[in-house]
């Protein structure tokens, strides 16, 4: 870690873009690990869930029958890591027959607001997400 990063003098906007379903490939799990590691560097982190990436956030995942670890509970820990902006694209949900109600209830505690619980998931349209993407300094896509 460089000095100026420790000072908070050079905070960059990091976007991790998730486009893959959770268990068919290793991308989703690897992306989550990168996010957790990257969270140590005190940057301004956002996650986007686009295309099949929205399937990562479905509630009620139960992998007992397929012998793969269910890592969806880890998304609930992201708030502890100060990762509080999860952009979910509406169009991607709709194309897949899903609504926001099918997703996990993800929240974070706002330190600046007496630890009030606030939702981490931000539903955005494709156009709105384009604007969010344009504001980023670094984008990593998985």
């Amino acid at each position: 870690m460089s000095e100026d990063m420790e000072d908070g003098g050079d905070i960059k906007k990091f976007m991790y873009m998730n486009r893959k379903a959770p268990y068919g490939t290793i991308y989703a799990l690897e992306a989550l690990e990168v996010v957790l590691i990257g969270a140590a560097f005190d940057q301004d982190v956002s996650l986007a869930f686009v295309d099949d990436g929205v399937f990562q956030l479905t509630k009620g995942q139960d992998t007992a029958g397929i012998g793969i670890k269910n890592f969806s509970p880890a998304f609930k820990a992201l708030g502890d890591y100060d990762v509080t902006k999860l952009y979910v694209e509406k169009e991607s949900l709709e194309e897949r027959g899903l609504t926001a109600d099918d997703l996990m209830d993800l929240v974070y505690e706002d330190e600046d607001d007496d630890w009030a619980e606030k939702p981490s998931i931000r539903l955005v349209s494709r156009d709105e997400l384009k604007t969010v993407l344009a504001e980023q300094d670094v984008i990593m896509s998985f």
Partner: protein, 100 residues
């Protein structure tokens, strides 16, 4: 003589399901497994293709559960089966075509 087709890719990312359904005969069976099970969600383009197809379509329940897709989200006309159903389907058809 009939074939069991298995599809393990998400229909929203690959055209495996579309191509499989187009190549399946009416007495064939199509079984969606792994990420292929996302094709079973009702109200999607994939579900319309399944409804229009002649083959009988199944989906593997454990892969649905793993992905948090409850059975009430499964499109009409798609039957949920377990591993035992998978084995039975494989035995009932003279060949298995795994769309990879």
């Amino acid at each position: 003589m009939s074939i069991l087709h298995t599809v393990n890719k998400s229909p929203f990312q690959k055209n495996d399901l579309t191509s499989c359904l187009a190549h399946a005969n009416d007495d064939d069976a199509v079984l969606m497994i792994e990420d292929g099970v996302y094709g079973a969600i009702k109200g999607t383009q994939a579900a319309s293709q399944i409804a229009a197809a002649g083959a009988t379509v199944f989906v593997l329940g454990v892969d649905l559960a793993a992905r948090g897709i409850s059975e009430d989200k499964v499109a009409d006309g798609v039957s949920v089966v377990g591993y035992d159903g998978f084995v039975k389907l494989a035995a009932e058809h003279h060949a298995v075509n795994s769309w990879l």
